[in-house]
């Protein structure tokens, strides 16, 4: 009896503290990263306090918050693409390919389409192109996954290389600006780009990014589709037994994932850049990766983290230059954050430090179970 009471008491204590634990789990790696990063800056001869103050000033004050918001939009969309795939236990690592291919074609045809078609129609056609191309890159890995059980970790990475190659071929071939010898697409006129939100320098592409965050949160947590995705991630075998058609859900999730990354390219090209160079790749996938896990694959939790990171990027790019540091310093912060998270994850297995960054979905990653011959019920 006493033992039971003891267990109950301990559970109650753990439960009471769980909100605090969640906060700890997110805050500790961020604070640690800031401290370690500061130490690194000091090592390079820069003043960390001054650097951080500059980051905040440049990233938030004046026009800063508007620039940060513009930077955040594609990052958020790529994060959504990763979140939906990771929740299903699918490692769609073809993000470079989806982004670059969609960006190249959108930037390549936008000057013509935007100039000839009515604005809304042109945007609709370009959106369709971006969705299709982004999804196309993840189609092959999805198809290979359900037909031959090839792990998408490997095939999506390889498909990504092919897509980047095709994008470069297009930019150096049919999509190249005939007016210049530099391999790049024609530049979309400023007046043809997405309009700014009234009273700001923030382009309208930011709106769909935030709307999609809310939509993704609703669908993933409140719909049968979202539940099926979580089931697939937690246990493919259980999902099959519960009647989930894995051989349809896997391609669906992979295609949506790729399509969302395609939208990120669309927003970037039509709202921010207006043209695409060959061999250009902003590397969004790796940049959002730590935050996607820090948010425990929740779109709503990822949004503020990624907005914060966008502020860091916006302010940090200039602040690093001012401090005479290489821009790669900002990437080192990402690696530091990942390392801190991994260490906290290891500690969290011994001590009550909130829930793992990897929900059951990804934690129990077993692509072996998705092999064709182990899923007879599914056929």
């Amino acid at each position: 009896m006493t033992a039971v009471c003891d267990v109950r008491a301990r559970r109650a204590r753990l439960h009471l503290g769980s909100a605090a634990q969640h906060v700890l789990r997110v805050a500790v790696p961020l604070v640690l990263t800031a401290l370690l990063g500061g130490a690194m800056l000091a090592l390079f001869g820069a003043n960390p306090m001054h650097f951080y103050a500059e980051v905040l000033r440049l990233g938030l004050v004046g026009q800063g918050w508007q620039r940060s918001l513009t930077v955040a939009a594609p990052l958020l969309l790529v994060a959504l693409g990763l979140i939906i795939a990771f929740r299903a236990g699918l490692w769609n690592l073809g993000y470079h390919g989806s982004y670059v291919l969609a960006a190249a074609v959108v930037a390549g045809v936008a000057p013509v389409l935007m100039a000839t078609l009515p604005f809304m129609l042109a945007v609709a056609v370009l959106t369709l192109i971006a969705l299709t191309l982004g999804a196309a890159v993840s189609l092959v890995p999805a198809w290979l996954k359900v037909t031959s059980g090839a792990p998408e970790v490997v095939t999506s990475l390889m498909m990504s290389f092919i897509a980047v190659g095709v994008a470069n071929l297009l930019i150096k071939g049919p999509l190249q600006d005939p007016a210049t010898s530099v391999p790049q697409t024609r530049v979309l006129g400023l007046e043809l780009m997405l309009p700014f939100l009234p009273g700001t320098q923030v382009h309208a592409g930011v709106v769909p990014a935030f709307v999609l965050v809310l939509l993704a949160q609703l669908i993933l947590t409140r719909s049968a589709f979202g539940t099926r995705i979580d089931m697939l991630g937690a246990s493919p075998r259980a999902a099959v037994h519960a009647g989930v058609r894995v051989s349809r859900l896997v391609p669906a999730v992979m295609l949506i994932s790729g399509a969302l990354i395609g939208v990120a390219a669309l927003v970037d090209m039509l709202g921010l850049w207006g043209y695409m160079r060959s061999d250009w790749n902003p590397g969004y996938g790796e940049k959002v990766l730590p935050f996607v896990f820090l948010a425990r694959l929740s779109p709503l939790a990822a949004a503020p983290l990624i907005c914060g990171y966008a502020v860091f990027l916006t302010g940090g790019t200039v602040a690093a230059q001012q401090a005479g540091l290489a821009i790669e310093v900002l990437d080192v912060y990402l690696v530091l954050l990942l390392v801190c998270m991994v260490l906290l994850e290891a500690l969290g297995r011994r001590f009550p430090l909130g829930e793992s960054y990897l929900p059951a979905a990804v934690g129990s990653l077993r692509f072996a179970f998705l092999r064709r011959h182990t899923l007879p019920e599914d056929r």
């Binding site: 690592l93 990475l157 290389f161 790669e328 990653l365």
Partner: protein, 310 residues
């Protein structure tokens, strides 16, 4: 166009040269995959190994020291996978992506810092075997006149094939990937076995990168691997522990790249992007046609082992 003997010889040389880095790296990746550890970041290890080897050989002039440096760099970088994933149980794919970024970033940053201004190149490796061997027809120039790493790599392939399937430690490696709890139950150490296999993967990826930098390219350029690391993972996956399949795939890759290079010397103009893409297209086709291409991978791949956990 006439195909001369010299051209055929050059083609053979190119096949071997391109196949070797893939073969070496895939050997290591295969052993670590069989033990249940997937390193998604082989590309990063190849790059760091290649840079370390290049820098060392450039400074010391010794190719063997270069290979040693490549191996050490590989062990150090892959060591992070051992510490974070094998010991601390962190997700292998997340850590692997970290390894990829770190290897790519560190090698690029160091190259920019020390070599970007001069862009030095290395000379050819000196012949080390007696003249009567290097003067043999075909085998002489293709094998014996090459750096000793070529023969060592072939020897290693044979040894690993034997080790994995015919020796007790090799059995432990495979059990660690097939069913780690069994290895634990019979008194083996899953952690130690996986750590050793992973570090071996680091050595081989480092040496593979070194081969690419020292003997194939003769220099280092940031990002010079162009996805070879991902082909390495695919190769190890398709081979599924069989070294013969590994050699065949590596040679097939060598033929593909050599053909692409040869085509550039002919009247047919093939964009370099197409040549860079071709191996990936072929690999995906092979994976697609090979109906159970994932079956060579052990069931416990990329999962961490906790005693008693279900």
């Amino acid at each position: 166009m006439m195909v001369t003997e010299a051209m055929l010889l050059a083609f053979l040389l190119a096949v071997i040269a391109n196949a070797m880095p893939l073969l070496l790296a895939a050997l290591g990746e295969m052993v670590s995959e069989q033990a249940g550890v997937l390193n998604v970041g082989v590309e990063g290890v190849l790059l760091l190994g290649g840079f370390a080897a290049f820098a060392t050989t450039h400074v010391t002039g010794s190719f063997w020291l270069g290979f040693l440096a490549g191996a050490v760099a590989g062990v150090v970088l892959q060591g992070s996978l051992v510490v974070l994933s094998v010991w601390l149980g962190a997700n292998q794919i997340v850590v692997g992506l970290g390894v990829l970024l770190a290897g790519n970033g560190i090698s690029s940053m160091l190259y920019e810092r020390f070599f970007a201004a001069t862009r030095p190149r290395l000379g050819a490796a000196p012949a080390w075997l007696p003249a009567w061997l290097t003067e043999l027809p075909i085998l002489g120039p293709v094998v014996f006149a090459q750096h000793g790493m070529l023969l060592l790599g072939v020897l290693l392939t044979v040894v690993i094939g034997w080790f994995l399937w015919r020796s007790a430690p090799g059995l432990r490696v495979r059990v660690a990937g097939q069913h780690p709890a069994t290895l634990d139950a019979v008194g083996g150490s899953v952690t130690r076995t996986r750590a050793a296999a992973t570090l071996f993967g680091g050595v081989m990826a480092g040496v593979g990168g070194a081969y690419l930098a020292l003997l194939v390219a003769g220099t280092f350029t940031p990002g010079m691997t162009h996805g070879l690391g991902f082909l390495t993972i695919a190769t190890a996956m398709l081979a599924g522990g069989r070294t013969r399949a590994l050699v065949l795939i590596a040679l097939g890759y060598g033929v593909l790249v050599a053909t692409g290079t040869a085509l550039q010397f002919t009247a047919i103009s093939v964009p370099s992007e197409v040549i860079a893409m071709a191996p990936f297209v072929v690999a995906l086709l092979v994976i697609g046609l090979h109906r159970r291409s994932g079956s060579g991978l052990p069931p416990a791949l990329a999962t961490s082992y906790t005693r008693g956990a279900r």
